[in-house]
Structures are given as structure tokens and as C-alpha cells.
């Protein structure tokens, strides 16, 4: 079974440009999460999808960030326009549906550098 995959692994863009990050969850996982780690800080929750629906967007930093999960499979996270403070590692995680605890499986992350 393939794990969570993220594309690209690295992205270097200039301030003001647009970047789109992609996450492919484990097949059959309804829950998909985005997290971000800014250098020197903790990994922070951004948002949570259940299938194609956004359940919790409380961690999204501002309206320059747009996450989608059309069809309830892969997800994209677009940053437009990118600012210097958006640099960091963006992690995606997926989890099986269930009322009891199920493990979140993480992807390798996308390292975003905004110059």
C-alpha cells in the first residue's frame, strides 16, 4: 500500500508568485490534514478535510491560502501571492474514517522557500 505522497518535494519561488502544493493521501482515507512547520517553530495544524468537505480551517493563516479537495481524493494547497513568512515545510497527513482513534500517516513534506 502506497503511503501519503506530496509534490513537489521542494519549491523555490519569489515573493508575490503563486505556488500549488499537492497531497495524495492513502487510498480510502477520508480524513486529510495539512500542517506547516516554519523554521525553528513547532508543526502547526492548518486544516482538516473529511472527504471533500472542510471540517476545520482554524489554522489557516490568512486568505492567501486556499485548500481544495475536489472529489475527496487528492488535495491541493495554493498560496497566492506568496510572502517571505510562508517559507517552511508543509506536511500532509491522512487517516481512516472511524469514531475511535486511527493513526494519522504523514507525507514527507514539501519544503517551500519564498525569496
Amino acid at each position: 500500500e502506497a503511503g501519503v505522497t506530496q509534490f513537489p518535494s521542494h519549491s523555490v519561488i519569489e515573493k508575490g508568485q503563486t505556488v500549488t502544493l499537492r497531497c495524495d493521501p492513502i487510498s480510502g482515507h477520508d480524513n486529510l490534514y495539512w500542517y506547516r512547520r516554519v523554521m525553528g517553530k513547532e508543526i502547526k495544524f492548518l486544516l482538516h478535510f473529511v472527504k471533500e468537505s472542510k471540517q476545520d480551517e482554524s489554522g489557516m493563516p490568512n486568505n492567501r491560502f486556499l485548500a481544495e479537495r475536489t472529489g475527496g481524493t487528492y488535495s491541493t494547497l495554493k498560496v497566492q501571492p506568496a510572502e517571505l513568512e510562508d517559507s517552511g515545510v508543509y506536511f500532509c497527513a491522512s487517516r481512516k474514517r472511524g469514531s475511535s482513534y486511527n493513526e494519522q500517516f504523514f507525507g514527507p513534506g514539501t519544503r517551500l522557500t519564498v525569496l
Partner: protein
């Protein structure tokens, strides 16, 4: 809201020495507790978790952590480390679903502790 404090950002040790990585948390509600590990150039992997029951939990590679409710701690220990244990370790908590009104399970992380095992 929850917060997690990992008191040590870096811990260098020699091979075969014991190690303890400290984690304290703050929460007004009950939480699940986790340790994740990130090896170089890899994603985060779950190392061990405390959901309920015995307060001492163990991983398959010799790590253990003990949940201490009175001290709100979940320290990670290993009696003898190997070079292959070199990685960054993250402590995390997740609010119990009945507290958050659903099965969100979003994680709140500490800043991480870089464990470097030297020969």
C-alpha cells in the same frame, strides 16, 4: 486549547548511553499523547501513543514513554541508544473526540528535539 513544550531542542549523546527526551503539555481537557519521529529526509512516523490504560507505553525499537497526569508529562526514554536513532522527535497531543464534538483528531506539536547519537 492545548500546548506542548519540549524542553530540549537538541540532545547529543554517545552510542549505548541512555536518553530521556522531555515533554510537558497543557490542556483544559483530556488528551491523547504521541511521540513522532522524523528521520533525515523522511516524513513523520508515529513512534508510540498513549490513548488509555497502562501509563507506560513502548515502541518496537526499545523506546518507552510514561504518561504522568499529575505532572502533565509524557517523557520519552531509551536505556541504550543506537546511531540509527539519530532523528528529530516530536511530542504531540490530540483532544479526545467527545471533547471537540467530533472525530477531528488534529495534532498539537511541540517544537521538536533533535537527538544526535555519536559513536
Amino acid at each position: 486549547a492545548q500546548s506542548v513544550t519540549q524542553l530540549d531542542s537538541q540532545v547529543p549523546v554517545f552510542e549505548e548511553a541512555p536518553v530521556e527526551l522531555r515533554c510537558n503539555y497543557s490542556s483544559s481537557v483530556s488528551v491523547y499523547l504521541f511521540w513522532y519521529v522524523q528521520y533525515p529526509n523522511q516524513g513523520l512516523q508515529l513512534l508510540l501513543k498513549y490513548l488509555s490504560g497502562s501509563t507506560l507505553v513502548e515502541s518496537i525499537n526499545g523506546f518507552e514513554a510514561e504518561f504522568n497526569k499529575s505532572q502533565t508529562s509524557f517523557h520519552l526514554r531509551k536505556p541504550s541508544v543506537h546511531i540509527s536513532d539519530t532523528a528529530e522527535y516530536f511530542c504531540a497531543v490530540s483532544e479526545l473526540p467527545w471533547n471537540s464534538g467530533g472525530s477531528n483528531y488534529k495534532l498539537t506539536f511541540g517544537k521538536g528535539t533533535l537527538l544526535t547519537v555519536n559513536p
